[in-house]
Symmetry: D2
Subunit: 400 residues, 4 copies
């Protein structure tokens, strides 16, 4: 039996009809576009009426998808369907799965803005509020928003987003005007610093290997880094460089291979272990320079997430990933700008936790990293395919 749905949204700009088409085909159903009223411009909102010939539960999946694409479904100004979680970490099968876009739920006759927005979470009603909750944090009895009724995204129009980066396409290419991007980003950082905004860096060890270490240290000193999210490797390579002038066997000043260099890696960890922590190593005079040193001196919080490949690790590295994810999430919660430098693992990890309205720049010499991040859903990301060391050097020169 056919059911007619009405939708309103950026039907042309966001390829909504094609997306309905592919969803319906996937579920072996049929559809007809009954009516399509387009705005004057491609950017304008349009409305459509579409007849769907599909089982009801599949229609619900498609509606969930359409909502996640920013469509308004007029008839969905009805109370959201709430069902209790049957046990911890488990929700009903038709739970509404979130995007990282701003979302509202219709509760008690009005639209309520969701808190702690992030992708791939459940919506849990807590009194008057609705929270994004990760599956693993669901408790038995939590009220879960199910189906698609009473849920909508409230994506602001592009012009209101005040996106200074709007001119930059999301396209990933090594064939881009990096210099222009550096200037725009520096301008954005200057403004954020003035108004007390928060800039979070997510950085991998390539920052050091490409010679970007000193520029990055200068950015910390100048007050442009308000949190550093990374892993064990960046910190160990940085400390190894500070203590022995090497980084995993490469003399960074001459570029020559250093024999016994890998041993320096372990000696660096040993030195911090002796002090007790990175901060204590700064305090007792063991660590006198480098990125981690500058963070400690400037009071910039850092979170080092462990990984299965970590040697050591440093005493500051969190090998409990539940704790690491929690501390990452806390740092990005109030961020205004996130700059990701050459680390796919930590970039995707951070992207998973962030709402889409935080400006994000991802710099990597490998285009696949940037593409993968955006494919994962962090579509707000501006990808820059370039040499991270040069990028930081140029960025630092633009900042007073």
């Amino acid at each position: 039996m056919e059911r007619v749905i009405e939708i309103r949204g950026h039907i042309i700009r966001d390829d909504i009809l094609k997306k309905i088409d592919s969803s319906v085909v996937q579920y072996n159903g049929r559809y007809r576009v009954l009516q399509l009223e387009v705005g004057d411009q491609v950017e304008d909102e349009s409305t459509a009426r579409i007849a769907l010939d599909l089982p009801e539960d599949k229609i619900e999946l498609i509606l969930n998808e359409l909502i996640n694409l920013g469509c308004t479904i007029p008839r969905n100004e009805e109370a959201a369907t709430l069902k209790p979680a049957e046990k911890d970490k488990t929700v009903p099968d038709d739970f509404y799965s979130t995007t990282n876009h701003p979302t509202e739920v219709y509760l008690n006759g009005k639209w309520v803005r969701v808190k702690y927005q992030r992708m791939d979470a459940c919506l849990v009603v807590k009194g008057d509020e609705v929270h994004c909750v990760k599956l693993r944090d669901i408790k038995k009895g939590d009220l879960i928003v199910c189906g698609s009724s009473g849920v909508r995204l409230v994506i602001p129009p592009a012009e209101e987003r005040g996106n200074e980066f709007a001119f930059m396409s999301n396209e990933v290419s090594s064939e881009r005007r990096v210099e222009v991007i550096v200037k725009r980003l520096a301008e954005e950082m200057r403004q954020l610093k003035q108004k007390g905004g928060k800039i979070v860096f997510v950085a991998g060890p390539v920052v050091i290997h490409t010679g970007g270490g000193e520029a990055f240290q200068s950015l910390i000193r100048k007050g442009y880094v308000h949190a550093l999210l990374s892993g064990n490797a960046l910190a160990v390579h940085d400390i190894e460089r500070a203590l022995f002038g090497t980084s995993l066997g490469v003399n960074l000043d001459t570029g020559s291979i250093v024999r016994g260099g890998h041993k320096n890696h372990m000696r660096a960890i040993n030195a911090i272990n002796r002090s007790g922590s990175i901060a204590e190593a700064v305090a007792d005079g063991t660590l006198k320079s480098g990125i981690m040193y500058e963070c400690v001196k400037k009071g910039v919080p850092f979170v080092l997430a462990g990984s299965i490949r970590d040697d050591g690790p440093l005493p500051d590295t969190l090998m409990d990933l539940i704790e690491a994810q929690a501390q990452y999430a806390e740092q990005v919660a109030d961020a205004d700008l996130v700059i990701m430098l050459s680390t796919m693992l930590h970039a995707i990890g951070t992207g998973n936790m962030m709402p889409s309205w935080i400006k994000t720049v991802c710099v990597d010499i490998n285009p696949a990293v940037v593409t993968k991040l955006m494919d994962r859903g962090s579509s707000q990301t501006i990808g820059v395919v370039t040499d991270v060391g040069l990028f930081l050097t140029m960025l630092e020169k633009q900042l007073p």
Copy 2:
């Protein structure tokens, strides 16, 4: 003041003189080759006498390095220097840092073979034994082998290693005869199965995306997989495929993009959460096919190490990496062959824990992954740059 050292080893084959040269240059010292007696063949052992003009502690670092390269230093048949660890996780600065090669320590008048061999560890004397101990497991008072006296590697000659793979160079290239390698590997696996050897697979989700899932499942059923080391992603993608026919939004049978597919990712985790674990999901009939299903059915142990980017994760995924590393290490401890499939993170993690005498094959479409693994010290690795799905399909066909 010059000190004359004598060394014996594969001086020509292993570029020992060049390595001494670069070490000495790094420490601003000087050296002279006083004598070099070479064997008939490049593969033969040679002896050399070299005068070093360097501070004593730098000479020690070079001797440590030379030992790690397999040289014997005649005068070092002296008791090893032992010093107590001053506190937990902390060793004296001149600690001997291990390789993954078989090592012996001279204790109480005889050479003792080191247990639990792995790279980047310390040597701790425990009664009559010497153990490789990771820095983080060092306890205050542990007796640490320091300097280079009384330590030697005992690398067997190539012919004794009985390496069926010997014909394959370690060179990494996409321009290789993959078919030949598949045949040799299949032969090796057949022999190992016959004599009750242990084959450990380290696998990433690309195994599924490249269509290698069914071949891999068949390998499990046929008894060629004795442990599976992986992360959350492989298991979730596999279970998603088993439950919904998709894998992160790709319909694997038709290759087309599936709308709402990412939701299936979370639905798969939810389903396992409901059962309690992967094994329970197999037991209660929720999970009826796939790689994880075959592992449970066949009793193949698997270890899923968490990462900062994991959604969910599955209840089986270890988010405590200390525990994850311990379980990985347990599985490789008695492995005869380790096959790494398209996962840089887990491959390097596993490589860190393994002694060099375990045969290792690393398959990846990206040459950089294989190179990085070997640069890290897992030089025994045979790198194969190819399509993992095709590789598994061909391998499976060679095995009865």
Copy 3:
């Protein structure tokens, strides 16, 4: 002053409104969508009326673009505008620039199908016919189709194209089911062979280095290769392998590096020079095996295009690229299937010459090659990211 245009075509499927939007924005103009009548399905044709506020010559550029996207512009059933070429190799500025899709020109009251269709050419009226002519072949006085009146594309609906490959998305990814693609391609090749179709291979030397040489030779012997388009390198490496068992210094049977191997490269060319040509070397018994040998024996035409980096080259290699392009074009003119194996340069060169209705498969281990080919306009291409040697081995096994 506004002008209203009407278009008919796959407005939704092909993102026509978004393309008009970006063109108009580029020319600093404005537009309004006055009306949009969509079909039932996304695949169906729709009609639109759009008011454009733009200089007339810019409207012409947009109309040219819309025609190239497959739109019909009802008012354009008027005689095409013809202007003479002012001199050799030079056309009027508003010349109609072709796509590789089937095109018709309205001449003397009827639509005439264009001959020698290829992209980036001019349309020249020659009596009753219209030909695609490359800029460099334009002669003074040639009648050039200018502007957009009287030109349309006639792209057949997908179902009529009878595309056995339709199920395969164009998406490029190393995470694909290569085995399925091999089967479909084998089926297509069997059918083509039965009905006397023509299969053209474009191949680079990686075919040999990845161990695909023998499979490819078998494909030639079995009659599945009807022309080979390549460069100097494939032929030299193949002949070097046949004469000395090496290929640029690699022993292909053992994989080991061969000293003096590069000299063999020059010795191979010298041997063919002595005979006079590849065919004469087969005739006089110098060349007794390999890809080039099989081509000669089976009478398969081959074209070797030179490049600036060619040593030698072989006497068969065409260092005059005008001639090489002509011979390539002749081979693809009547092709039914073109299979491109690991050679970006020759693949793009061939793609430039082909109409879009020839089925094209491009196999490369590097996803960027496939992407670049499709970005250039060869959008009909099915990209397969895999190991070319294994691909050929599996393909050959599927063919009787």
Copy 4:
């Protein structure tokens, strides 16, 4: 029967014994190192006596190889063996195949320095001189140096080469200190300009796409570019940018995609065709800016080599590759520094023609390009893996 050879050279530094080992193994022979006298340092020359058990012609091949590696073979101060070419483009099978290193031939009782040194050529005696001659330029009756007697390389010691770049290792890595390299290169360029040296650039279109166009134009104006070797693409993209502000469909100022942009590619060629050539287009006012414009204005010679994938091409593009190679070779013959920017094809083509004593820098975002160039024999190349646009921008700022 064993034959004893004596060699002198950088036996340790250049791995000579290992190379003899692999050559002998390849030919199924045997060898014994009878004696090895090493210098004090790894860099010093050593001497060795080695017994070879191999057929005489194989020994000759090995001697040829050893000479190419820089060894002196004391007994080879005998007249070189000369044999006439039996026909055009054909030499005796045992011809001596050259490297790109400085070479001398023993003729009439003295060592004669070879002219026109390049790799993969034959040595032809012309009166008192010896010339490197490409196989295709050999004429019947030319006197060809055969075997290995009477040939030696005369590679100057590293310190005499006065290599300002000596500190930079040849290692290819994206993890390098690009900024340091830029400074050294700028210093080298300043010095060369002062003493009237010649700097040749080999450049691909990525120079433009990465935003390096303006910096490169400035380098031309400032007098740091003395020849430009490239292909059709760089020139067309540059001219398209100058005439229409686009480059293959990308608006370079805003980064947005330009509809109809590909047509601009053909319109640019058409415009130059109308003028007759690039120089004439500058003269008649058609072309007013860009890289090609600056070359014409400054009188910098440029050579555009054609390729099988070229559209158009421009009237200046040489589609006859024999001519293109000749003009490339003429420009590099007296070069002091060659800088290769993001073009594997033209970089390898140029590398083939150059003697090893010309300093060479190769910049590319893809490490494989740099590696491939060096593997081909251009081992003098300093590889820089970075963003070419940023590289040029920084280089230009360092130059007055």
